[in-house]
């Protein structure tokens, strides 16, 4: 007897995202249901633009680094042509991983299983004992290539879909936040080659993405690091703060702290220091930017979550890599700015202090993520509330929805974009 699954049954086997995502609440199963995660891979991670790495990580011809798109192992290479290439880390023969090291320099790769060799752009160069294939050059095979690769100010993004919005369309207003970061370099250049820390986190990736611009938690979760370091960051996220949370569209959001820093009017305060501590940097910035330098040095770096996985947190960059419905890896590195040596060593030490193995900031957050994941496994109540600040949101002069510093405006922006992507049929 032959049985076929009727179309209607197949349709209902997918979660009904419209029913699970409401304007002021989202359903807990979105964080715990493996079917949702499988859908996310197909509709978000393997289709939308995803941040992969930075061009500065492969400065020389032949350089390569192992990167990821969700659970996919990707090799980012610098070819002899000078371009950055993304290939899947999978031999075309039997599917073995071709690269093992996290980074290195190689114009050609050799699979350790049967010795097949590839150009670092993916082209198959050859295989041992070619008579078994009727001679050389007889196989129309290569490493898998990522269909679309594009970059913005050195930030390399990939889309595994052949068609779709361009990177510029995807980034939209978030591109301006990357510009803000680059502007803090006297050379307009960002370098992410300081090395990456990796923290395995037993939580759904969306808890991280939502948290990155949640201005409601810092006063609670990070109170110990704020008190130990005497950091001025805490009050930026309070009811008295003039900072705002902004939905930048396409799932991107930011905590815009500029209103607070402008009010304080002190260059370098965003970095927790003063001009006199970094005199060479400040002098160089004034030389390059002239009258605009004061504003740039006062307003500081962006705090922006670029959907779905790139978080620029002023002086460091985080990349969220989902592995399964309840596990992900947080990759983090210190931002390094071209021509800003005085600042760069401080950014490395500050990053180690906040996200290093003994750092406090990321450990605080990760504790919350993992507790959150456990809590979400409880049966009641079924929903998570995301309504904070809905009543006091407004559109800013550029038309972006903006809430108070501690409002969940960014989280709602995330879900609205997420729902759009998840409802699309493949």
């Amino acid at each position: 007897m032959t049985t076929t699954v009727p179309d209607s049954a197949r349709a209902t086997s997918r979660p009904d995202y419209a029913a699970l995502i409401e304007p002021s609440r989202v359903h807990g199963s979105l964080y715990t249901d493996p079917r949702v995660f499988a859908d996310e891979l197909e509709r978000i991670w393997y289709r939308s633009w995803v941040f992969v790495g930075h061009e500065s990580e492969v400065p020389e011809s032949g350089d390569y680094v192992r990167k990821s798109i969700g659970p996919q192992d990707i090799i980012m290479t610098r070819g002899r042509d000078g371009d950055v290439h993304l290939v899947f880390n999978r031999c075309a023969h039997r599917g073995n991983l071709v690269c093992e090291d996290a980074r290195g320099n190689a114009n050609a790769f050799r699979c350790p299983y049967h010795g097949w060799t590839y150009r670092n752009t993916g082209e198959l160069l050859g295989y041992p004992y070619n008579k078994g294939y009727g001679g050389k050059g007889n196989l129309d095979l290569s490493l898998g290539r990522v269909p679309r690769v594009d970059s913005y100010r050195g930030f390399v993004f990939a889309s595994l879909a052949e068609d779709g919005p361009t990177l510029a369309e995807h980034l939209g207003a978030a591109a301006g936040e990357i510009d803000r970061l680059a502007r803090l370099s006297p050379e307009g250049r960002i370098d992410l080659g300081a090395g990456w820390l990796q923290h395995r986190t037993r939580a759904n990736w969306k808890l991280l993405a939502e948290n990155e611009t949640d201005g409601y938690h810092p006063q609670f979760v990070h109170s110990s690091i704020f008190s130990v370091t005497g950091s001025p960051i805490g009050p930026l996220y309070s009811d008295n703060s003039t900072a705002v949370t902004r939905d930048l569209g396409n799932g991107h959001s930011e905590n815009d702290l500029r209103p607070e820093f402008r009010r304080q009017g002190e260059p370098m305060r965003w970095f927790g220091t003063s001009e006199s501590r970094v005199p060479n940097y400040v002098a160089r910035m004034r030389e390059v930017y002239g009258d605009a330098a004061d504003d740039i040095l006062t307003e500081g770096a962006p705090h922006v979550m670029i959907f779905p996985n790139l978080f620029i947190a002023e002086i460091q960059v985080f990349v969220i890599q989902p592995l399964s419905v309840d596990e992900c890896v947080q990759h983090s590195t210190a931002v390094q700015l071209g021509g800003a040596e005085e600042l760069n060593s401080r950014m490395v030490s500050q990053s180690i202090g906040s996200v290093g193995p003994a750092g406090m900031l990321l450990a605080d957050d990760t504790e919350m993520y993992e507790r959150n994941q456990r809590g979400l496994e409880m049966r009641q109540p079924e929903w998570l509330d995301v309504r904070r600040g809905m009543h006091r949101e407004a559109l800013d002069e550029d038309g972006y929805r903006t809430g108070a510093a501690t409002d969940e405006t960014g989280i709602r922006g995330f879900w609205s974009h997420y729902r759009r992507l998840m409802e699309v049929d493949t």
Binding site: E100, D101, N105, L125, G126, P128, Y129, P357
Partner: protein
């Protein structure tokens, strides 16, 4: 200068100042090792003859080849496609016919 770093993706792997993975050691005579995860080759300028030559040693097999200045110059001028052909394993080591 530095051993290969073992940044293989373990959690809490700290590499703030790590150089590129791979092996580059330079000894007193100016020799060293050029290595990555695919191959490891010892490099030294050998002065035992009447003139200098480059001594290359494949550390995984012990096989050695000496190259004189003209041979090195030839390699520098080798067209890209010729070098690519040499990277086909069937061209050199792993082939059915014995070396002629």
């Amino acid at each position: 200068m530095s051993e290969r770093d073992s940044n293989t993706g373990d959690a809490h792997d700290v590499t703030p100042d790590a150089p590129c993975a791979g092996t580059v050691r330079v000894d007193d005579s100016g020799g060293g090792i050029v290595g990555n995860e695919f191959a490891e080759v010892g490099v030294a300028v050998d002065h035992s003859g009447n003139g200098p030559r480059l001594r290359l040693e494949d550390y995984r097999t012990g096989r050695v080849r000496n190259l004189d200045a003209l041979e090195l110059e030839t390699i520098i001028w080798l067209p890209e496609e010729r070098l690519t052909q040499l990277l086909d394993p069937s061209t050199t080591r792993w082939r059915e016919e014995p070396d002629r």
